[in-house]
């Protein structure tokens, strides 16, 4: 017996004047409930890097895309076809952002008797999965690690680039500026800096490493941080990087964010200081 499924393709249109869309989701109503498949959604897990890879605007719209994912999930809780049709009609009226661009009917047989299989099939056929750049993969993983470490819930955590200015008590004209990619302030602060190793040239890695090393040394010299609270976060550490990373042995803790234990290490470090 064949399965007939009426589906809608949702596109992300970055620029309403160009009207060039990228398929990002498939919606359908079948057997009394809504169904969806969307870019970056794998079960209960969301990988925002796929959507962020679509364009610079999409990169900056990650939070809004998360709201859309929540909306797609709500569509699967719709049990009334009129409500589903109205939701799709609203998407059809959009001319940018998320747009219901087209619809179709697919007749499936031979192994595609379940609607979830049919949705998987349509998603695979209609939505091209973009490549995630190493920098983006690093960014996504870092966000995940901070979330798992629960440090983002700490009110003293600054989840952005921070500059700390230290002045000498003897000579107030002597200012030392410390730049961190992320910072936990408080009684025993933790300064983080990131070093993306994947996809970067050796020259660029060396230059970044020198800058970070100087920051950590100054943080220790001025007494702002202790070496065990200077954290270098890197990813994709290979044997060829070992010599370069050796320069941090006395001044920082080096963590590979792709290692499972990293979130736990950060969490422990956070609690040691409180």
């Amino acid at each position: 017996m064949a399965l007939s499924l009426h589906f809608h393709i949702v596109q992300y249109i970055d620029d309403p004047f160009l009207s060039e869309g990228r398929n990002v989701a498939v919606l359908a109503f079948h057997n009394g409930r809504g169904h969806y498949r969307a870019l970056g959604v794998e079960g209960s897990r969301l990988i925002p890097g796929y959507f962020k890879s679509l364009s610079p605007k999409a990169h900056d719209s990650e939070w809004a895309y998360r709201e859309w994912i929540s909306w797609f999930r709500s569509i699967s809780n719709i049990r009334v076809v009129e409500q589903f049709d109205e939701a799709v009609a609203r998407l059809e009226n959009n001319n940018s952002g998320m747009v219901a661009a087209s619809e179709g009917v697919v007749e499936l047989a031979d192994g595609y008797l379940e609607v979830s299989d049919a949705m998987d099939y349509l998603f695979k056929r209609l939505v091209r999965i973009p490549k995630i750049s190493p920098a983006l993969a690093f960014e996504d993983r870092l966000a995940e690690v901070f979330w798992q470490a629960e440090i983002i819930f700490n009110e003293n955590f600054m989840n952005e680039v921070v500059e700390v200015e230290m002045i000498s008590e003897e000579d107030e004209s002597e200012v030392v500026r410390l730049e961190f990619s992320h910072l936990l302030t408080g009684y025993r602060p933790i300064g983080f800096n990131t070093l993306v190793l994947m996809g970067a040239t050796q020259k660029s890695i060396s230059a970044q490493a020198r800058r970070i090393s100087t920051t950590f040394k100054n943080a220790i010299r001025t007494g702002y941080l202790q070496p065990d609270r200077c954290v270098l976060l890197c990813g994709g550490v290979k044997e060829k990087h070992r010599d370069m990373l050796a320069q941090f042995s006395d001044i920082a803790v080096v963590m590979d964010i792709f290692e499972k234990s990293t979130a736990h290490k950060i969490n422990r470090l956070m609690w040691i200081g409180t």
């Binding site: 992300y12 719209s61 909306w71 003897e170 001025t222 007494g223």
Partner: protein, 240 residues
């Protein structure tokens, strides 16, 4: 910490300039009067002015001039290139729970202006905890468009009648918050409502007389608003 140094400042790294000004453009939806909705521009503008007066969470907008005359630009909510989705029916309860005060305010405001078409015209952030957003939009079916003719709309608004029979947040808001917002609107001065409704000039097909009559109707309606809410609390608090 070493005795030789002290912290002078900890701040996020920003662009040069005290306010870091940058040029930008905002996405907006332009709304015009049409045969189907002949008082759309006026109704949208006055609904915004009333909402801002009472601090009801509605989307910002602005009256703007286009080649076809004056239009209302409703500013989009979201990120550049990706506006937020309209609320879907399965999200109603969650949104009303996340934003209990705002949801009650919106229900009471819709009853006040006779907006019977709230539907999914709400933008919220439900998973972005650091960026709370809750805004209603689209008020073209309230005020002068409660009925098919503006005079009938004004007459109906002046009566002690609920008008709004369905609302996404009916059944999801608290009695306390609804009463609080009804009292708040009720206690406002007539002058403030007149200033919101009377533009001192015609706006497209809406004459100054129509504006004054609407203001009178709303002044009467605000006085009985707590009564309308309490008399209809059974409907407002029941899920449909």
């Amino acid at each position: 910490m070493s005795a030789n140094y002290k912290i002078r400042s900890i701040r996020k790294k920003s662009l040069p300039g005290v306010t870091a000004p940058v040029a930008c453009s905002l996405d907006a939806i332009l709304k015009f009067d049409s045969a189907e909705s002949p008082y759309c521009v006026y109704s949208e503008l006055v609904a915004l002015r009333l909402a801002q007066t009472f601090h009801i969470p509605v989307a910002s907008g602005v009256l703007t001039m286009t080649g076809s005359g004056e239009a209302y630009a409703s500013i989009e909510l979201g990120s550049p290139g990706l506006r937020l989705p309209d609320l879907s029916p399965p999200q109603y309860a969650n949104a009303a729970s996340h934003y209990a005060e705002e949801a009650a305010a919106l229900v009471v405001f819709d009853i006040f202006i006779g907006n019977w078409d709230r539907g999914s015209n709400i933008k919220t952030s439900l998973v972005t905890s650091h960026l709370p957003i809750f805004q209603g939009f689209d008020h073209e079916h309230g005020l002068l468009a409660v009925e098919s003719e503006p005079l009938k709309s004004i007459e109906r608004l002046a009566r002690q009648e609920l008008i709004v029979q369905n609302h996404p947040f009916f059944g999801h808001i608290s009695h306390t918050f609804a009463t609080k917002w009804a009292e708040r609107i009720s206690q406002s001065q007539d002058e403030m409502i007149r200033e919101c409704c009377e533009l001192k000039r015609p706006l497209r097909t809406v004459t100054t007389d129509m504006q004054a009559n609407l203001a009178n109707a709303l002044c009467m309606r605000k006085q009985v608003l707590p009564r309308i809410i309490s008399d209809n609390m059974k409907i407002i608090r029941s899920w449909r």
